[in-house]
Amino acid sequence: MAIEFRLPEVGENIDQAKIVHLLVAVGDTLQVNQVIMEIETDKASLEIPSEVRGRITSLNVSEGGMVDVGSVVLTVEGDAEESVDTGPADTSTGPALVEIPDSTPTPQPVKTAPVPPVPEKLPSPPIPATNPVVAPPPASPSVRRLARELGVNISQVAGSNPGGRISDSDVKAHAKGLITNGHGPALTGQDAGIEVIPLTQIRRIIAEKMTRSWTTIPHVHQHDQADITQLDTMRRSYNQKLAEDRPRLTVTAVIIRILAMLLKKFPELNSQLDMENKQLFLKKRIHVGVAVDSEHGLMVPVIRDVDRKSILDIVQELDDMARRTRSGKIKPDELKGSTFTLTNLGGIGGVAFNPIINPPEVAILGVARAERSPVYHANGNVEIRLMLPLCLGYDHRIIDGAQGARFTRELAECMGNPLDLMFCI
């Protein structure tokens, strides 16, 4: 009996998903609850467990491809009775499992077994096989208690003893693994006070990248302030003359242009460290990544060769890229290859923050909100100036304090001095 497995509902208003990983192949013997593939929708990524079992005779999807909800993912050869009804079904989700008799030439659904919807917020993947009543995880009561106390789901611990029995050291090793992988104590979605949300691909990448950065790079953060009173006046008067639909000259664009000049002067800040071979790559080209807050999470589109572009080019490109990033139309290639990153949170507010380096880069510039502050001059006069807080995060393995401070100071000086600005722009 050939049994088709169709992609069940994966969430509200989602009718298509991307296959990130395909974990089975034609000829494999598929078990119920075995994970067939990992898919990603624009809302979430999740694993799709099988509702059927048997030998896979055809596979209609491929890794990286798209799959429609309700379409046939694969067909298995097996006994119809072996397909399991996994519980109370919501018939509104429609049939996902259709049994086709071999003799019928045109596929004719003879029986539909409703399959419960795969919730959008999928809890940890179901644990396959054994009847929980008959055979709970093979661990003694004291080991089960230890697991609960450590927040470890005992059914996910691999036992190292004969018969797969789980020892206290297995539980501890598992807990340690969870912690080093950046997970806290495992919670389960069974607690009514907890909602389970699978990490999106973006979130996972950010999490992994930031963990790697923070745990491997010895960060130093250099704080400074740039007096942008004059710059701001110039910028505003320039913008006033622009037509309504022209992109505005922004502080970010100005900083990018200054960075182009400064990174040439301080090439170590535009480098990449190769610890393994004990060498440093100085990058001749300067590509500045600009952190953009999108509804999918943080994204960093890259403005290439900023040293070869005019400020107006940069303004134009920045506006275009930010817009396409927010609407999800940015191309993957445009999110790669930055040599230095800029993150400007001034639009939101705040006094200061310490940005984390975006590996494999070695430095990042954070910009907070400009505020009017009293500035005391040597002659005793006090002036109210518009001060822009800057923070350079840098890799101390490559860049020393003096160099970091000099870079930041020069940036601030340059922004504060319209003459310097003219030269550099």
Binding site: N131, V134, A135, P138, S140, R144, R145, R148, P162, I166
Partner: protein
């Protein structure tokens, strides 16, 4: 009443679930009030269940052994039975253990109140003082409540004929007299245990059971030796037979029995109705709380024993089958530890069950019938006590020990036993299941010789195909 009538934890019911909960909570430093609707603690288990029945079953065993030992050349005279004194012994046991619980309660500063409790809302109980009880507040506010009110025997209306000779298990344990002819309605463990007691004391015991088997749910090979024995010692075992009605007659209770369309009347001196128990959840004012009642009157609880009302927990018979004291005690610990904020859940591998007949039947974990029903493939090692030296010395070789294991991993999934002392021996099976032991673990552990516990080791060896005292299958 003033607001100082507040307790951190109140436990309703002082049976093996309730008093364990109270003591465990007190051990953890919580302030506990234990409310019981009778003066003495202990619940059904101590007052009119496990303990008195076992006291009497011990006597029954002595009487039977004294008779059977004549086969070995030792003859005792017919036993003289002083029923007042016997009742005194049984009541003395209850008194002693009840006093012990009171002592343990006061040593832990558990506030014991003899009163009936009813919820007025999710945080407050209305109390009605028990007879003779003093200083009982009218109401009590609590942080958390544990309901442990147990269960009562079911006596359907047709058997409720206002004649004290028709008894439930409670009445039968009072031991008013020793009827010449006793009818036991229901072939479950209570009926068979009480039947065993009355048979030994001299009654002609007849058992009537609606279904085709005694002890429904227990593997047949475990029931067989018991059935074989009581077929001889009991007057009559009537399977697939219904009691249509009970009537008061001059010389006893007349039962109208019906099997395969044939009806007949029989008269007995007393009748015992033992067809099941029902949880005591009806008169607690639960409708004033968010506690959810499910089928058969049980309270719905989660794995922490918490009800749908977050401040209220439920344990023991009210929280679902099996209605066994040791399950209640375990649940008591789970509930109190949950309330104390510990990450405890009820995740036991098995709840052992014992039928204290002669021979005893005990099992834990998966049964053979359950495996067949659920299509679970198992390997079974059976060791008949006919091959046990110790059983031979006791002249009780009808027993059987079996282990049920996963054929792939060898992990033990169930253990079943029938024979003298099976109830005590099943604990090894429980440990094996909880520790996720496999067949080899049991077979490789030295069991003391000569004891009945060796049968467990040998059953495991049968599974492995090399029992010392059994001829391997292929050689037979």
């Amino acid at each position: 009443m003033s607001d100082n009538n507040y307790t951190q934890i109140v436990v309703i019911g002082a049976g093996p679930g309730g008093y364990t909960a109270a003591f465990h909570a007190a051990n953890m430093g919580l302030e506990v009030t234990l409310i019981n609707d009778e003066g003495q603690p202990g619940g059904v288990c101590l007052q009119r269940g496990c303990i008195p029945s076992k006291a009497l079953l011990h006597i029954a065993r002595l009487i039977n052994e004294a008779r059977e030992v004549s086969e070995m050349g030792i003859t005792f005279g017919k036993p003289g039975i002083n029923i007042e004194k016997l009742r005194g012994f049984k009541d003395g046991v209850i008194e002693k253990l009840g006093g012990g619980i009171r002592q343990l309660a006061s040593a832990r500063k558990v506030n014991y109140l003899h009163a009936r409790a009813e919820f007025t809302c999710s945080e407050t109980l209305k109390l009605t003082a028990g007879r003779g009880a003093e200083n009982i507040p009218k109401s009590l506010h609590f942080g958390h409540c544990i309901i442990a009110t147990g269960s009562s025997p079911i006596v359907p209306g047709i058997f409720n004929i206002s004649d004290e000779r028709v008894m439930d298990s409670t009445g039968s344990l009072e031991l008013k007299d020793i009827p010449d002819k006793l009818l036991v309605i229901g072939g479950g463990y209570i009926g068979l245990e009480m039947g065993t007691i009355y048979q030994a004391l001299g009654s002609a015991v007849s058992v009537v059971e609606m279904t085709p088997t005694l002890l429904t749910g227990v593997d047949r090979d475990l029931v067989k030796p018991l059935q074989h024995r009581i077929n001889r010692s009991f007057e009559k075992i009537m399977l697939e037979t219904r009691v249509v009605s009970l009537k008061t007659a001059n010389n006893g209770i007349t039962a109208l029995l019906e099997d395969n369309d044939q009806a007949r009347e029989e008269t007995y001196d007393r009748a015992l109705v033992s067809i099941g128990r029902t949880p005591n959840t009806g008169r607690l004012g639960l409708e004033n709380t968010n506690v959810e009642i499910i089928e058969r009157g049980f309270i719905k609880v989660d794995e922490r024993m918490q009800t749908a009302d977050p401040s209220i927990f439920a344990i023991g018979d009210v929280a679902g089958e099996p209605m066994l004291a040791h399950k209640a005690s375990k649940e008591a610990k789970v509930a109190t530890e949950s309330i104390a904020g510990k990450k405890t859940i009820y995740d036991v591998a098995c709840v052992p069950a014992v039928v204290f007949t002669d021979p005893e039947i005990a099992w834990a974990g998966l049964t053979e019938d359950e495996a067949a029903e659920k299509g679970i493939r198992v390997e079974i090692g059976r060791f008949p006590w006919a091959a046990s030296g110790r059983a031979a010395t006791l002249a009780r070789q009808e027993g059987l020990t079996k282990v049920i294991a996963d054929p792939e991993s060898g992990r033990i999934l169930g253990v079943g036993m029938v024979g003298v002392g099976a109830g005590d021996m099943i604990a090894e099976g429980v440990i094996a299941l909880e520790m996720a032991a496999n067949i080899e673990d049991i077979a490789e552990s030295i069991h003391p010789h000569p004891t009945l516990s060796e049968t467990m080791m040998e059953a495991a060896e049968v599974c492995l195909g090399h029992s010392t005292h059994m001829i391997p299958r292929e050689n037979r």
